[in-house]
Amino acid sequence: MGFKFDQPLYSLSDEQEQKEILALWESEKHGGLWEGNNRLPFPLTFLIALVILTAFMITMPIWGQRPTAQDFANHVKLMDSPEVQRLATPEEKMKYVANAAYQMADNRTKGNLERHPITWDDLLNIAPQIKEIQAGKGKYPLDNYTVLGDRIVLANFEGNMRPDGLRERKQPWWDIGFTIDVFYVSYFILTVFLIVKRLPHFSRKPDMSKAS
């Protein structure tokens, strides 16, 4: 069972071994069944490459990130303004605050605000918590906190180590999970390549007329 590497894309088995594999292949049927030696059609090879690329692109945290406390800082700033105080109902107040905060937000925050609308009641509950963090009572800046309904909690991310020994809790665009995946997928491709290329080249079709 020797490997040969002079034409790795053709076959990793030497000529003798390819003949032996093909001879075995042609000598037996499995309950009357046998398998062809066809390659994966090229469009499907392309599709698999596309799937691998898509798997990384679509799962980036940016596409599913949770709202941070920073996203609602402008809401908190606006809710005590005279314009809002003049409005009669919570619905009117919330509509005004949401529109004004949306205009002030950058593009990334706008996406988050669209996906995670907030009620006036929840805003009333998170406002003191945001103010407390802004007042420097937390060890982390606002964007290290996640908004869960009416609560502000420390985000569940493990980012870079800060000079004070704590880890950043800000959502990264790339985390260690993706690094593990890069290695995992690479090993998979290498393993399947080694297994498949040990077979006779796909141009060699087994002649099953002799099989029993």
Binding site: L24, I58, G64, G177, Y184
Partner: protein, 469 residues
Amino acid sequence: MLLKYLFAKNDEIPPGSATIFFGFSSIFWFVVGTGLGSFNAAKLAFPDWVTGTEMFAFGHMRQVHVLAVILGWISMAFGMTMMYMTPALGNTKLWSEKLGLWTVFLWNIGLSLGLLLLWLGFTSGREYNDLIWPIDLVVICGVLLPLGINVWMTIAHRKTQGIYITNWFFGACIFMVIVVFVVGQSPELFGLTGLTEAYLTFWFAHNVLGLWITPVAAAIAYYTIPKLTGNPLYSHRIAHLHFWAIIAFYSTPASHHLMSAPLPEWLKSFASVEGVLILIPAIAFVANILLTMKGKWSMFVENVETKFSITGVLLAIPLNMQGGFQQTRAINWYVHGTGWIVAHAHLALLGMSSFLEAAAVYFGLQQMLRRKLYSLTLANLHYWFFLVGFCIYWISMTIAGLIQGAGKIYEVPYIDVVVAEHPYMIARWVGGTMVFTGNVVWLYNMWMTAREGTLVPAGKYAHELAYER
């Protein structure tokens, strides 16, 4: 007859006996499982129907339905196919027909006991792993291990040097599902709670689906389609890609079921990428089977087993497209915890997997009984009731899930969501009841096949004979 053979010598038991008992047991449990499903769906569509009795509450009945289908119908159909495909593919006979019969006997007893206890309220309380651990021990030692020993020993005693792809899957999947069942008991045995329990619960649930229910169904298609069409399997090398991609990418993404839980985000990122990569084995499987059909597509219309089989293969496409993408952060926040997921689970179990198994049970029972199907009309009626009923269920629950998702995100009052969903709950009940009705017809048809089906001459396959009636 089963009791007579249980104590007979192995050589005195007619070959195929275990297959036949497994086959009829699986259809029986399919009728029970879908009947319970129809009953449960009626409770959601008509909330005033059968109330006041604790045992008939939805919370008691739901898991009985789920496990009757998974451990009764699907797993017994797997047992049936393993009993006849494994020896056939090794050009040998089953290692122990007697062990096969004992397995099907203990399986029926253990499952009946387990479901009864579950119905009475004895439960671990963990979804898909609801049985209490002593019953799971029976499943492992009395069912899966004996089945595995029979399959592994039959493969070891094969008369071919190579091992056909179907037998790779059979041998590997039984080993993996035993590991999954053993590890899956750890929350109960070691008193694990909180996030660890949640993770292990979905590690179990994900792997029962990914390393048992879908890959064994795919392995069955690798046998039935070449056997029915007479074509060789399109590619041995694509089968390699399918098998190793299942091992690599289906065993790892359990935490994508818990994207909203406070698990480490890196673990979710890892699992989510693997979740999309589930499309790789799906592409390999579907391509291999559809290319095997070359020149024989007329059989998709003319032959009932091929019809069931190819429908299952085609349903693998939406199944994996949904499964691959619905678990990403971008989509999961919307559909998590809604009827969309219920629709997806039924697409996997009732759609892709069940259609493939039904084809194999139709084919295998005719072969082992050496009798041609009693009525092609009833078989076609079964197919169309099954397909139309399933589609009604799947589409209605998908729409209901999108409504629930919108209601969840925009904080619509819960009762308004319930009202909006009501028509889809009725549609769900209609669809499920159609599947149940089709299965009753199937049981009758197979029973009559055993009694009155035309005898198949030696050297012929049932599907090669013309109908006499």
